[in-house]
């Protein structure tokens, strides 16, 4: 009896092992098809889309386009954008689309890893500035946009401002199609101010008074946190630009590598001062990064916040109704009128893989697809999720969230001044800036140390 059961057990384990292996072989090669609807073939049956002459050629073959982006998951733009992608896919059965969506910053890591192995997607969204683009340009991986524009059916250079193009300019040539622009705006909870009989502060002295009242009542005056420099790095640039030559100095950084300037020092001191005066939340790390920072404001635990378009979809409806857009007060020693400018740039653009473009079989499909992404139709749709298109186009206000319309209106006449990330040419230096901002906001370093640390990193990069 025991021998029999031993034999059964043995057969069972052999059968199990075989099934697993068979299932493995079969299941794995079907893994991309089997579950879910999207018609993406598996990696074994059609190798990844980096150039191989065999994938071009015979006319019966489907063209494969790999598109990587990060408006997915919890991003408010996701449902609008991905809806449009599915529509396009359905209309083009001759193209096999491989969509690679990775949320947030992970998309950046993924593209970087892709690059190390020569696995860059055919077309992908990416961030701005020499920090992000120069390595790709140096390795000749991405397409010069004039070539695309010459083939494009609907997209023209004039549809974007020179400033928008400048964010993707390396050595005089354009390497990305501006997609998502942004402008910062300050929001204040009208009801909270009214509750304590306060006016929106215009000077630093008024700010401290307002702060005192709020703090006494358990409310954070201004929700600003810093975790890996988010979102503080945008606010910091805003502060620096209030001072003499703040913006001019920033623009010169690619040539001078000089971050340590009078304006930046004053901004760092202002941060330390504001922290001492209780303007910020007491815990800037825990309240750092976009989600937690907005949550404070959403839950009415903070009276003011500095926000950007990609967060519009996350603001509670009742809070939108209670929100007024205001100007940040003028700091002591500032010379620039705070209402005259806002921090803004193009956050993301569309980059095209040069080799994929030069593949004659793919070129037209790529161009058409890029045209589609940049079409008024798609951009208008994604605007419903809070996208500020970089393209100069009309948006239908009735489709947009009221906060979006308010923000566009408020910033319409302000100068748009890009933040330091657009100018700092070295990724290590900028990452030092980001992490040092965490330290500055948490009170771990003095303003002097902040400036010397960051400048040292820039000096190293020269």
């Amino acid at each position: 009896m025991t021998w029999l059961s031993a034999k059964l057990k043995k057969s069972a384990s052999i059968v199990l092992a075989t099934t697993l292996i068979a299932g493995l072989a079969a299941g794995c090669s079907n893994s991309d098809n089997g579950k879910g609807g999207s018609a993406t073939p598996s990696a074994e049956t059609s190798p990844s889309a980096s150039p191989s002459p065999s994938s071009a050629g015979s006319s019966g073959d489907k063209i494969t386009i790999r598109f990587a982006y990060n408006w997915t998951g919890a991003d408010p733009k996701a449902s609008y954008f991905e809806g449009k992608l599915k529509e396009y896919e359905a209309k083009h059965p001759e193209i096999s689309f491989k969509f690679e969506a990775t949320p947030g910053e992970e998309h950046r890591t993924k593209i970087k890893v892709d690059t190390t192995a020569g696995n860059l997607p055919d077309i992908f969204t990416y961030w701005l500035g020499p920090v992000n683009l120069k390595p790709l340009v140096d390795a000749n991986e991405i397409l010069e946009m004039d070539e695309y524009l010459s083939k494009s059916g609907t997209v023209k250079k004039e549809q974007y401002t020179d400033i928008a193009w400048s964010f993707f300019d390396i050595g005089g040539k354009k390497y990305g199609l501006p997609l998502e622009a942004f402008k910062g705006f300050f929001m204040a909870n009208r009801e909270l101010f009214q509750k304590y009989n306060l006016e929106y502060p215009k000077t630093y002295a008024e700010l401290t008074n307002v702060a005192k009242v709020f703090n006494d009542n358990g409310i954070v005056p201004f929700s600003m946190g810093s975790k890996n420099g988010q979102p503080s790095h945008l606010f910091f640039s805003y502060l620096a630009y209030q001072f003499q030559n703040g913006f001019d100095d920033a623009q010169k950084i690619p040539q001078t590598y000089q971050y340590d300037t009078d304006a930046v020092r004053k901004a760092a001191q202002a941060v330390a001062q504001m922290k001492a005066d209780g303007i910020f939340p007491s815990d800037t790390v825990a309240n750092g990064d976009w989600g937690p920072q907005l949550s404070l404001y959403n839950e009415e635990k903070a009276a003011m916040v500095y926000e950007f378009p990609w967060m519009i979809g996350n603001v509670k409806q009742e809070i939108v109704d209670k929100t007024d857009l205001i100007d940040f007060p003028a700091l002591e020693g500032s010379v620039v009128d705070p209402s005259s400018y806002t921090i803004g740039a193009v956050a993301m653009g569309l980059l095209i893989n040069r080799k994929s473009f030069e593949d004659p079989a793919k070129q037209q499909a790529l161009v058409d697809f890029a045209d589609f992404i940049n079409s008024d139709e798609v951009l208008g749709e994604v605007a419903k999720g809070g996208l500020f298109p970089a393209k100069q186009m009309e948006l239908d206000p009735s489709t947009l969230s009221p906060l979006y319309a308010k923000a566009m209106e408020f910033t319409k006449n302000q100068n748009v001044w890009p933040h330091h990330e657009s100018y700092v040419p070295d990724s290590n230096a900028y990452s030092v800036i980001l992490s040092s901002l965490d330290e500055l906001f948490a009170g771990f370093v003095s303003p002097e140390d902040y400036v010397s640390k960051t400048q040292k990193a820039l000096d190293k990069a020269k």
């Binding site: 190390t116 140096d138 890996n228 330290e439 948490a442």
Partner: protein, 290 residues
Amino acid sequence: MRRKHDAVFYGGFVLPAVIVYTLFMIYPVAMSAGYSLTEWNGVTAKTFVGLGNYQELIADGDYWQVVRNTGQLIAYSLIFQVGAGLAIAYLLAKVMHGFRFFRSVIFIPVIISPVAIGLMFSLFYNSDTGPLNHLLDSLSLSSWKRQWLSDPHTVLKAVMAPQIWQYIGLYVVIFLAAIQQVPEELVESARMDGAGPSRTFFNVVMPQIWDVFQVCVILAVTGSLKSFDHAWVITSGGPGNASSFIALQMFKTAFISNQIGYGSAMTITILAYAALFTMLFKRICARLYN
């Protein structure tokens, strides 16, 4: 004849693991070691710099800060994971009622994803809205309140706490099983000889579970050397490098600062520390036992 058959059998049996492991683990590590001798941003060509990265590491204050942080983590893991785990297991071994319940419950944190634990704790630690400070208030311990993640004195410990806490259960379960295997007669005879609880523990129980203890120490140390997830989710290693560890620093260097060669050099140092520790530890244990 048997010998030859043996060799063929052994060879064939160990081959699949050797192939897979060499190809997908050792070879990539070797590649990493290769990268560590270069300067590479991941995109353009690599520049050979020999031991330049290592020389830079030695002079890099940030690197030593994270090494010190990792050292602290190792120390706390040994005390609170291995040490406390052992103590709790010892207590649990004597419990009559609810034994199974305790054993299941303490293991629960082990199975939760570190990312989940990190998220949970970052919400807890928020000194403005999080439950931790509220709890301290309600227990009249308001003076203990802190800006957990923004206070230079607390941020490192605040980040170490979740990861140490999470795996205590693992060590408890391991030690528990080991303690339960200690023959009753030994314990009984010690007690009859008049030995108190601590004498019994050190002279009777410990020698029996000594092997297990060694393994746990090695696991705790190598686990701490690899620490990444918790710190990344809670503070990204910040502010600055205050709550960063070597593996996290390596990730930032390679993927955020685009310095893959330099980051790889850091990885190799982790390997070196782990190997060094294991060798020294084994030697010390062998000596101690004699």
